[in-house]
C-alpha cells in the first residue's frame, strides 16, 4: 500500500486529538497509523454525499433486523434506533496479539480466583483478599460454596472492558464474568458496517467473527454429558434490555431460548417443559444474573428462576455458563488486589494492567486516596456495574479524610481514566471521540479463544463519562486487520444440523405464545373485516344503515372494539396482544414477520390520529387488511413447518371458527335486519364464491351452507375444524396427559355435529351451542400441551 500523501485529506481537516490523549488514527507525531491508510484512502475517494447514503444502508440493515436499544428515560423504558457509529475501530493484528495474551492470562487468573472463593478460600486465609470483600459481597453466593462445577471449570465465556491510556498501552477497565452481553451486538455491528463498506471490507484483511461463533457453538455442545441432551440459552425474558440479543444469538447459533419457567428439576436433572413432555437440558448459557436463577436457594423474590436449579448443579447434572456466583469477580474492589493475586497464583505480573485501584478499608490505601483524591474517582467498593456506566464520583461534600475513616471499607479510589480517541463521523467530518472496547473470550477444549474484534463504545463528546449508550454514546465495529488475507468461512457451512436439533424441541411457553399469536392475528383480521364492512355501509347509506349496523355492532363490542371510532383503540390493543406474543418468541420468528407486524402497528397508530368513520375509515382499513394479509402470507409461505408453526395455525383456525360461528349466529338469524346476510358473506370474504356456487341473492340456507359447512371454503367453520384436526395429528402424543385424548375427542365430536347437521337445523341457538363447545378446544389445547 502506498503511503498516504501529505497533507492530510480534507476528510481529516480539523481532526485534532486532545493533548495528552492517545489517538487510534494518528500517531503522536501526527502521521496516520499504517493500519488506517487503506480505509482512509477509500473514504477520501468517495464524495461526502455518498457517505450519507452508505451509512443509511447500514442503518437500514439494523432496522430490518429489528436491532434496537432499550433505554430508560424519565418517561420509563423506550426503544430507540441502534446508535451505530459507522466508522469501525481499526487495530493492527500485532497489537491485537498483545491484547489477546493479556486477556487470556487474566481469564485464567479469574478462573483460579473463582475456584478458590467457592472452594478452599485460601486467598483470604493467605491474606491476599480481605474477608470483608467476600463475606459482605452480595454476589458471593453461599449456596454455591463447595459445589464443584461439572467438568471442573467455572468460567466459559467472559468479557473484558479495555481502553488505551495516554502512553499507548492497553488497560483493563473492568471484568465482565456474570453474564456478559454484547457478543451478538458485535456481530450485528459487523454485518451493518460491512454493508456500509461493502466495496472495501471484503479485501481489507479484516479477521472474521464467524469462526469464533463456530467455536462457541461447538464448545457448548461439547459441554454436554449425554449426546441426546440439549444446550439452551437462559434469558430473563422480553423485558430485559438485551433480550433482542438473546433471541438473535439463539437464532444464529441454533440453540433453544428458554426462561426460568420453561425449566424444572426432576430426579435431580434439569428438564425443559415442552409440548411433548419433559426433555433434558444439560448446558445452559446463562444471560440471567445468578441471584435470580433459583428462588428456593438463592433470591426468594425471583420470579425468573427455576426452583431446584442449584440442586441440579450440586448433583452435577448440568453445566452453567458461567457457574452461578461468577458475578463476584466483577467486584470493583478486587481490581486493587488482582495484581498481587496474579503474582501469588500465577507467579507472573499482569500482562495488561488494570485501572489502578485502592480499597479504602485499609489505612495506608485510605490515606493515599485522601491525599491524591483530585485525580481519582471514589466509588462503591462492591459495585459490579461496568466502569463506563459509573464514571462519576460518590465522594461527600464534607472533609474527605474524616468520611473515609468512617466509611472507607465501602469505597475504592480509582485513578481517573483517560481513554484514547478514535474517528467518528460528526457533521460530515471525522472527529476524535473517546472509546473503550469490550473483548470476548471463550473457553474451548484447547484453552481460551479470543473473538478477533469486539464491541466498541464511542463517546458522544470528548468526555470519557459519556461513552455509555444509555447516556448518548454509540457502538462501533472493531476490525482486527491482518497484513495477509484472512479465513472467510461462515457459520452456516456447518450450521444446519445443530439448528434443526435445537428447533425440534418446543418449550410449552413458546408454543403458548405462538398459539395466542395465531389467535390474536386472526382476531385482528376479523375485527378489520367487520369494521371495513360497517364503514362501507355507513358511507353508502348513511343513517339508513342504522338498523343493520346496530345488528352487527355486538360482534365488535364483545371484542372490546367501539365501532364509533375510526380506528378503534380496541383494534390497536388486539394487535398489541399479538405483538406481545410475537415478542416473547422472537427467537422462533423471522425478522420479516416481526417487521410486518411492527409496520402494521405503526400504520394503525398513525391512522388512528386522523381517520374518521365512514368512507375514510373503510379505505384506511382496506389498507391495513392488505398489510395484515402480507404477514399471513409470510407465515404461510416462509415459516418452516416446525411444531411452533402448527400451534400458530391451531390458534388461527380456532379463532376463525369462533369468529365465523358468532357472525352466522348474529347475522344469519331470521330476526336479523335487512341486508345482514349480505354483510355476513362480505365479512366472510366469500362474496364471489357465493355467487358462483349459488345465486346473486343470498338466502339463509345458502349462506350457512357456504360459511359453516363447506369444507372447500377456507373461511368456513368446517374448514377450520379440518385444519385443527390436521394440525393435532402432527403433534406429539404427550403421553400420560389425559387432556390430549380429551382434545381429540372434543374435535371429533364437533366434526360429528357438522356432519349430521343441515343449514336448516343449524339455527342461531345451535350455532351458539356449537360455539360454546368449540371454546373448550382452546382450554384443552392449553391443558394438553401448553403447561
Amino acid at each position: 500500500m502506498d503511503p498516504l500523501p501529505l497533507p492530510l485529506p480534507p476528510l481529516l481537516a480539523g481532526y485534532r486529538p486532545l493533548a495528552g490523549v492517545a489517538d487510534e488514527l494518528l500517531s503522536p507525531d501526527g502521521g496516520v497509523r499504517p493500519v488506517w491508510e487503506g480505509l482512509l484512502n477509500h473514504l477520501s475517494v468517495t464524495a461526502p454525499e455518498d457517505w450519507t447514503q452508505r451509512f443509511a444502508r447500514g442503518d437500514q440493515y439494523l432496522r430490518d433486523q429489528g436491532v434496537y436499544l432499550r433505554h430508560y428515560g424519565e418517561s420509563g423504558p423506550a426503544e430507540r434506533e441502534w446508535p451505530l457509529s459507522h466508522v469501525p475501530v481499526l487495530i493492527e493484528e500485532s497489537d491485537w496479539g498483545d491484547i489477546t495474551r493479556g486477556l487470556i492470562q487474566r481469564a485464567n487468573l479469574l478462573e483460579q480466583v473463582m475456584a478458590d472463593l467457592y472452594g478452599p478460600g485460601r486467598l483470604v486465609s493467605d491474606g491476599h483478599l480481605p474477608p470483608a470483600l467476600v463475606a459482605g459481597n452480595p454476589e458471593w453466593l453461599r449456596p454455591m460454596v463447595g459445589i464443584t462445577p461439572r467438568g471442573g471449570h467455572h468460567l466459559h465465556f467472559v468479557a473484558f472492558e479495555i481502553g488505551r491510556g495516554p502512553d499507548g498501552r492497553w488497560w483493563v477497565l473492568g471484568d465482565r464474568t456474570q453474564a456478559p452481553s454484547g457478543a451478538g451486538f458485535a456481530l450485528e455491528n459487523r454485518v451493518a458496517t460491512s454493508r456500509v463498506f461493502s466495496d472495501f471490507y471484503p479485501g481489507a484483511h479484516v479477521h472474521r467473527l464467524a469462526g469464533f461463533f463456530r467455536s462457541f457453538r461447538n464448545a457448548l455442545m461439547d459441554l454436554r454429558a449425554e449426546p441426546d441432551s440439549r444446550v439452551a440459552i437462559l434469558t430473563p425474558g422480553p423485558l430485559t434490555d438485551t433480550y433482542f440479543e438473546h433471541a438473535y444469538i439463539a437464532r444464529y447459533l441454533g440453540f433453544l431460548l428458554v426462561q426460568g419457567e420453561d425449566l424444572t428439576v426432576q430426579t435431580g436433572r434439569l428438564m425443559i417443559r415442552t409440548v411433548a413432555g419433559l426433555t433434558p437440558v444439560s448446558v445452559l448459557w446463562r444471560r440471567l444474573d445468578s441471584g435470580w436463577a433459583d428462588p428456593l436457594e438463592l433470591d426468594p423474590a425471583s420470579r425468573l428462576g427455576t426452583p431446584g436449579m442449584v440442586s441440579a448443579l450440586r448433583n452435577q447434572t448440568a453445566t452453567m455458563v458461567n457457574a452461578l456466583g461468577s458475578g463476584v469477580l466483577e467486584t470493583r474492589a478486587f481490581l486493587a488486589f488482582l495484581p498481587r493475586i496474579a503474582r501469588a497464583l500465577l507467579g507472573q505480573d499482569l500482562i495488561l494492567p488494570n485501572v489502578a485501584t485502592w480499597w479504602c478499608g485499609q489505612p495506608t490505601e485510605r490515606d493515599h486516596v485522601a491525599a491524591n483524591s483530585d485525580r481519582m474517582f471514589i466509588s462503591p467498593a462492591l459495585s459490579t456495574r461496568p466502569p463506563y456506566e459509573d464514571w462519576q464520583d460518590h465522594r461527600p461534600t464534607g472533609p474527605l479524610p474524616d468520611w473515609l475513616d468512617q466509611h472507607g471499607a465501602d469505597y475504592v479510589g480509582q485513578e481517573r481514566v483517560t481513554l484514547s480517541t478514535t474517528p467518528a463521523f460528526v457533521d460530515g467530518r471525522l472527529r476524535p471521540r473517546p472509546m473503550s472496547l469490550r473483548v470476548f473470550l471463550l473457553r474451548t477444549s484447547q484453552g481460551w479463544e479470543v473473538m478477533p474484534g469486539g464491541f466498541a463504545r464511542i463517546g458522544r463528546g470528548g468526555d470519557a463519562g459519556a461513552i455509555a449508550m444509555q447516556k448518548g454514546g454509540a457502538a462501533a465495529d472493531v476490525w482486527v486487520v491482518s497484513p495477509r488475507p484472512v479465513e472467510t468461512a461462515t457459520l452456516l457451512a456447518t450450521g444446519g444440523d445443530v439448528a434443526r436439533r435445537g428447533l425440534s424441541v418446543l418449550p410449552a411457553r413458546a408454543a403458548d405464545n405462538l398459539f395466542w399469536l395465531g389467535r390474536y392475528v386472526e382476531r385482528t383480521e376479523g375485527i378489520l373485516r367487520l369494521l371495513r364492512a360497517r364503514n362501507a355501509r355507513l358511507a353508502e347509506s348513511g343513517s339508513a344503515a342504522g338498523p343493520l349496523l346496530a345488528g352487527m355492532d355486538p360482534l365488535l363490542t364483545v371484542l372490546g372494539v367501539d365501532p364509533n371510532e375510526g380506528i378503534p383503540q380496541g383494534l390497536i390493543q388486539t394487535l398489541g396482544a399479538a405483538i406481545a406474543s410475537a415478542g416473547a418468541v422472537r427467537d422462533r420468528f423471522s425478522p420479516d414477520g416481526w417487521s410486518a407486524l411492527a409496520d402494521l402497528d405503526k400504520t394503525m397508530r398513525r391512522m388512528s390520529q386522523r381517520v374518521t368513520v365512514g368512507d375514510d375509515a373503510a379505505r384506511a382499513i382496506g389498507k391495513l387488511l392488505r398489510k395484515l394479509t402480507g404477514f399471513s402470507g409470510l407465515v404461510h409461505e416462509n415459516m418452516y413447518r416446525f411444531l411452533g408453526w402448527r400451534f400458530l395455525k391451531l390458534g388461527q383456525h380456532h379463532e376463525r371458527a369462533m369468529g365465523m360461528t358468532a357472525i352466522l349466529a348474529t347475522l344469519a338469524d331470521p330476526d336479523a335486519p335487512e341486508g345482514a346476510l349480505d354483510l355476513a358473506v362480505e365479512v366472510g370474504d366469500s362474496v364471489m364464491t357465493h355467487r358462483r356456487r349459488f345465486a346473486l341473492v343470498t338466502a339463509r340456507d345458502t349462506v350457512v351452507e357456504l360459511m359453516a359447512l363447506d369444507e372447500m371454503n377456507p373461511r368456513a367453520v368446517r374448514f377450520q375444524l379440518d385444519g385443527i384436526r390436521d394440525q393435532l395429528s402432527h403433534l406429539p402424543g404427550a403421553s400420560g396427559r389425559g387432556a390430549t385424548i380429551a382434545l381429540s375427542r372434543a374435535v371429533a365430536a364437533l366434526h360429528g355435529q357438522l356432519d349430521r347437521t343441515s343449514p336448516e337445523a343449524l339455527d342461531s341457538a345451535a350455532l351458539w351451542a356449537f360455539r360454546a363447545e368449540l371454546a373448550t378446544v382452546s382450554e384443552l389445547v392449553t391443558e394438553g400441551y401448553l403447561r
Partner: protein
C-alpha cells in the same frame, strides 16, 4: 438434660396443589460439646417424589424434597431424642473498642467466621433507630457479652410478646417501631442492634422446653419452633447464644436446629408450590424432658 421432641407442621390447601419443591430444616443439629442427637426422624406426607439431604453453607442439615402434584394437605413430622449438655459461660474478654483489630486477625471465610455475620443480610438491613436504641441500652458496658446481656434485657423490657402482631416477613424496623413481635422479631431486632454497633451476630432456630421444671414459669415461645441470637464474643469465647424473648443466655432449655445470618438462612420450611386457592397451616411442638 435428655429431651423427647416432636414437631408437627400441617398445611391444608383449598384446591389441590401442583408439584412443589421444599427445603426443610427441622431436626436438631449435632453439636459436639453442646448437644448430642440420640435419634432423629422426619416423616413427610404425602410421600415425596424425591428426597435428598445436604449440608448448607452454615453447616445445617437440610432435607430437600419434591412433592407430587395433586395433594390438598401436607404434613411434616419431626421427632428427635436429644441430649442437651449444660455449658459454662466463657470469659468475657473482648472489648468493643478492640473488636476491629481482633476481627482483622480472623483471616478466613470458613462457615463459622464472624465476617459473615457483621454485614447487613437481606432480612436484617441496617436500621438507625435500632442501632441508637442499642447504643443507649449498652451504655457503660464495654465487653461484648455484657453488652449482649444489657441489650437483650432492654429489648425484653421494651418489646411486648404478641403472636398476632407480626408475620414471618415483618421487617425488624417495623416490629421495633411497634414494639411488638414474636421470638423471630426479638431476635432480628437484637441482631440489627448488635451489627449496628459492629458486633457480629447471627440467628438461631430451635426448640424450647415446653413443660417447665416444677415451680418454674413456662417460657415464651414454646408452642412453636423458637428463635434466638448468636453473638461472636471473640476468638476465645467464640459464639454465645442469647435468647432476648426470655432475657437469658441460652441454656439447657434451648436445643438448636439451625443457624445463619437471619431467618432466611434457617427457615424451617422453605418452598415453592403452585397453588391456586388459599391455604392454612398449623404447627405444634412438644419438647419433654425424659
Amino acid at each position: 438434660m435428655l429431651y423427647d421432641i416432636k414437631l408437627v407442621i400441617h398445611y391444608d390447601y383449598a384446591t389441590p396443589a401442583g408439584g412443589g419443591r421444599h427445603l426443610l430444616r427441622l431436626l436438631p443439629a449435632h453439636l459436639p460439646g453442646r448437644q448430642t442427637v440420640r435419634s432423629a426422624a422426619l416423616t413427610i406426607t404425602p410421600a415425596p417424589a424425591e428426597r435428598n439431604n445436604f449440608t448448607d453453607f452454615f453447616g445445617n442439615a437440610v432435607t430437600e424434597l419434591s412433592l407430587p402434584p395433586g395433594h390438598d394437605k401436607v404434613e411434616f413430622i419431626a421427632r428427635a431424642v436429644v441430649d442437651r449438655h449444660s455449658q459454662v459461660l466463657p470469659l468475657d474478654d473482648v472489648a468493643l473498642a478492640d473488636l476491629p483489630a481482633v476481627l482483622a486477625e480472623e483471616r478466613s471465610i470458613a462457615r463459622d467466621m464472624p465476617h459473615h455475620f457483621l454485614p447487613p443480610s437481606s432480612r436484617i438491613p441496617p436500621d438507625a433507630a435500632i442501632t441508637a436504641f442499642a447504643r443507649a441500652a449498652v451504655a457503660g458496658q464495654d465487653r461484648l457479652m455484657a453488652m449482649t446481656e444489657a441489650l437483650g434485657r432492654a429489648l425484653h423490657t421494651t418489646l411486648t410478646f404478641d403472636p398476632t402482631a407480626t408475620t414471618v416477613d415483618t421487617p425488624p424496623s417495623e416490629a421495633f417501631a411497634n414494639r411488638t413481635g414474636v421470638c423471630q422479631d426479638f431476635a432480628q431486632i437484637m441482631i440489627a442492634g448488635l451489627r449496628g454497633m459492629g458486633v457480629p451476630a447471627g440467628y438461631v432456630s430451635g426448640y424450647l422446653r415446653t413443660l417447665p421444671p416444677p415451680g418454674q414459669p413456662r417460657l415464651e415461645g414454646a408452642d412453636a419452633m423458637h428463635a434466638w441470637v448468636r453473638v461472636w464474643a471473640g476468638p476465645r469465647a467464640g459464639w454465645i447464644d442469647y435468647d432476648p424473648t426470655n432475657a437469658c443466655f441460652a441454656g439447657e432449655d434451648h436445643v438448636t436446629v439451625a443457624h445463619g445470618r437471619d431467618y432466611g438462612d434457617v427457615a424451617p420450611v422453605a418452598g415453592v408450590l403452585r397453588i391456586a386457592g388459599g391455604q392454612s397451616s398449623s404447627q405444634a411442638v412438644d419438647m419433654v424432658a425424659i
